[in-house]
């Protein structure tokens, strides 16, 4: 089976989640990668380490803005050129918005939020998350073209030294493809992006106020972690909205999620229950988070967190 994998870069570096998509694709078939915008050839060639044979690169810098329609058109064009039957992408704010449009353009079935490799022993069946992390479903996809978006940590990365050949792909965009115009971008620079992070330190209303977040940031810096928060914290503007995790916020799947002063309401857990290991720090021994956590500390965050920082530094 021939597979096309769409990859994204952040600050010129191919995202780890995109490399996971390449590795996923290479377990399904022969992989061609499609990439867009300004990105170094050396960085592109590296996708070969994860099983890709070829990269189709559209260097049109209008694509640096991550325009939904134009990105969908590029991917559809790359499907045509590569003859791919299956398109694989790793979930992201752009991919989530693009996948449906690609599916219609190429006449494919589309399944999002895929959590495992497909079972092809009898058709094509994938496992996906449903009911906001409270269950999984096995979905059979009809014969023909397919688009699937995969979540983080679905495959293990085992790089080789192979490199991929790079070809330029040009696409005849028209004005309608850029009908959604970016007029401003507000992005935290230099930080570890929350959806990509392997380690996350998150805090809730137990922190009492935004002035107490320095401690949480210190813990995150010590670990090299991203910071996150519960919904009331972003509702009260203690922290920006893009840090809020949960059912109505970002869904994360890090190796380690440390929750400080968060009760562990079901809506919060919905965004974090795919984490590999959860540590809950809460002064209330009855806090529901202890039922979802692997490790728990009952204590006052204002005393526990500084001690934890010291212990990590040792």
């Amino acid at each position: 089976m021939s597979v096309l994998v769409f990859i994204e870069a952040d600050n010129g570096v191919v995202k780890k989640s995109s490399l996971e998509a390449v590795a996923y694709g290479s377990k399904v078939g022969a992989v061609t990668v499609v990439a867009m915008g300004s990105i170094e050839a050396s960085e592109l060639a590296k996708v070969g380490n994860y099983g890709a044979e070829k990269v189709l690169h559209c260097s049109d810098d209008r694509l640096n803005d991550g325009v939904i329609s134009a990105t969908a058109k590029l991917i559809a064009e790359a499907v045509g050129q590569s003859g791919a039957e299956t398109v694989v992408m790793s979930r992201s704010s752009l991919v989530d918005a693009v996948a449906a449009r690609v599916a219609i353009k190429i006449g494919a079935s589309v399944v999002t939020n895929v959590q495992d490799l497909p079972d092809t022993s009898n058709g094509f069946v994938v496992k996906r998350g449903v009911f906001t992390g409270k269950a999984f479903a096995f979905v059979s996809v009809p014969d023909g073209k397919k688009v699937i978006t995969v979540t983080k940590n679905v495959v293990q990365l085992e790089p080789t030294s192979s490199e991929a050949a790079i070809e330029e792909i040009s696409v005849a965009f028209d004005d309608a493809d850029f009908g959604v115009k970016r007029i401003g971008v507000h992005k935290q620079e230099g930080d570890i992006l929350l959806p990509e992070a392997d380690l996350v330190v998150s805090a809730g209303r137990g922190m009492k106020g935004p002035e107490n977040w320095q401690m949480i940031e210190d813990l995150a810096t010590t670990l090299g972690a991203a910071t996150a928060c519960s919904k009331p914290v972003s509702d009260m503007d203690w922290r920006p909205h893009h840090e809020h995790v949960g059912q109505t916020g970002i869904k994360v799947a890090p190796q380690l999620y440390i929750a400080v002063g968060i009760s562990g309401a079901i809506q919060h857990l919905a965004g974090v229950n795919s984490s590999k290991v959860i540590v809950a720090i809460n002064k209330d021994p009855e806090a529901p988070f202890f039922k979802a956590a692997d490790y728990g500390v009952v204590g006052d965050a204002f005393e526990v967190v500084p001690k934890l920082i010291e212990a990590i530094k040792k």
Binding site: I104, T132, F138
Partner: protein, 243 residues
């Protein structure tokens, strides 16, 4: 302004999910308007209140979903359409919306970024592509000035502001508007508002939900004394191997 808001009818957020015969066990489950759809509806009603027009709500569902549709009418939608079918997948739902919207000249179609039952997050993009309209998701802000709309879309680590000409489709999330709670007057008025029931169009090539599985039960949470943070770090390094 003529706005279509598409709503899903989903189990209440706190529902314990169980399955019987490979379907959701709806016994004792309370159903609500999809939480993200509620944000879309609230913003649509605000836009109508500010500059006139109509808000139509559409749901693809069996007669069981009518309480959710009535609630949307009570919140401020003017009329409603129910496409009489059990939704099978996102493509099925999108094609029903398109079949309705194709002849209605809407200025925008709003819905939640995803439904909180199947969480596919596809319907806005499918509808946009099928109608040849731009689609924007997840939309956190929406203002309209004449034929131009300004939206803010969540991206990793922040958000971007975009501008688009009407018509367009948006998949919404907070903080686009405050959820609205129907008042008594709204509830009384909703009873008299038109709710049209239409037949579904046939859709080919849908995916099939074969079976469901619940996540593995979590093991016991290992408690560490608040004075023993060295021990916690040791466990994270050597036992959990995440540091």
């Amino acid at each position: 302004m003529k706005i279509l808001v598409c709503i899903s009818h989903v189990p209440d957020t706190t529902t314990k999910i169980k399955f019987v015969d490979n379907k959701l066990d709806t016994n004792g489950v309370q159903f609500i308007i999809g939480p993200y759809d509620d944000f879309a509806l609230a913003r649509a009603v605000e836009l109508k209140e500010a500059s006139g027009g109509t808000v139509t709500v559409l749901n693809v569902g069996t007669v069981d979903t009518e309480p959710s549709i009535r609630k949307a009418l009570a919140i401020g939608a003017d009329n409603a359409v129910r496409v009489d079918a059990e939704p099978t997948d996102s493509l099925f739902v999108a094609k029903q919306i398109v079949a309705h919207a194709a002849s209605e000249n809407y200025d925008m179609i709003l819905m939640g970024r995803e439904s909180s039952d199947f969480n596919s997050g596809l319907v806005h993009g499918l509808v946009g592509e099928l109608l040849g309209w731009p689609s924007i998701a997840p939309a956190m802000k929406l203002d309209v000035d004449g034929s131009t709309a300004k939206l803010s879309r969540e991206i990793e680590g922040g958000h971007e502001d975009v501008e688009v000409q009407l018509p367009f489709v948006a998949g919404c999330q907070e903080p686009i508007a405050e959820w609205k709670i129907p008042n008594m007057r709204g509830i009384m008025m909703a009873r008299k508002k038109p709710l049209e029931v239409v037949e579904a169009v046939a859709v080919e090539g849908v995916t099939a939900y074969q079976s469901f599985e619940l996540p593995e039960e979590k093991g016991e949470c290992k408690m560490v004394d608040a004075d023993q943070m060295d021990e916690l770090v040791g466990l994270l390094k050597n036992e959990a191997r995440v540091l």
